[in-house]
């Protein structure tokens, strides 16, 4: 088990209903994709937030990463929709 801080933005945050949380992750959650599967398996608001998993963007320690990126050593993982700034 490892502990990770998750932060959510935009409609991911709204659907989950909180801006951040700390979770214990099982050892078989290795990549960002595994994390998204794990969260969806919790059902309810998580299933709604991550329904279209491929549109979700991720950042580890405040840098963009692909879904295949290992999350080992991550202090903070952010999950959010495509950005619309500028």
């Amino acid at each position: 088990m490892s502990t990770v801080n998750l932060v959510y933005f935009s409609w991911v945050r709204e659907r989950i209903g909180r801006p951040e949380e700390t979770l214990e992750l099982p050892a078989d959650v290795v990549t960002v994709a595994d994390l998204l599967d794990h969260l969806k398996s919790r059902g309810g608001e998580y299933a709604a937030a991550f329904e279209h998993q491929n549109v979700i963007r991720a950042a580890i320690n405040q840098e963009h990463v692909e879904h295949g990126e290992p999350i080992a050593g991550a202090r903070e993982i952010a999950l959010f929709p495509p950005m619309t700034g500028g």
Partner: protein
């Protein structure tokens, strides 16, 4: 040569373009071209009452800094400034300011254009609309056209 000064700010308050240009050019006589881009909140033909800008504190600054440093290196900019606001803003309000300075005009144009294209697609900001008809605000969807605009800068 001293490294090109890059000035990044993420703030709730408005900005003053003249003040920012003056700061970037102060005591220099080697700059030949300054291009500024300001992005404003449009009223969408009266349908929009306000925009709300959410951001990821810390990463927003870090990502904009990375983008500006890339632009400095790629286009030989002499200085770059990028200011992005967050919070609520009404039609007509400033949202973002980018300034690029270079010895010659095309580098300044390309630098500012490059920074804006990456800012749109990589900087962690999200816009929510509040509509004048009182209907629930929607999060603005990302546009494929913005990804295409970014991808034209891919090299080789």
């Amino acid at each position: 040569m001293a490294p090109a000064p890059v000035n990044i700010r993420v703030q709730r308050d408005d900005f003053d373009i003249a003040v920012e240009i003056a700061a970037l050019c102060r005591d220099r006589t080697d700059i030949g071209a300054v291009v500024t881009f300001s992005g404003l909140c449009r009223d969408e033909a009266g349908a929009l009452s306000a925009l709300e800008l959410e951001h990821y504190p810390g990463m927003a600054e870090a990502e904009i800094e990375r983008i500006c440093q890339d632009a400095v290196e790629r286009f030989g900019l002499q200085a770059a400034t990028a200011i992005h606001r967050f919070g609520g803003m009404e039609p007509g309000a400033n949202i973002v300011l980018v300034i690029a300075a270079a010895p010659h005009r095309q580098a300044a144009f390309d630098g500012a254009n490059f920074i804006m294209d990456f800012l749109k697609t990589s900087a962690p900001f999200w816009k929510k609309e509040h509509r004048t008809d009182g209907s629930a605000g929607d999060w603005i969807s990302a546009k494929d056209a913005d990804d295409d605009a970014r991808d034209r800068w891919a090299r080789g």
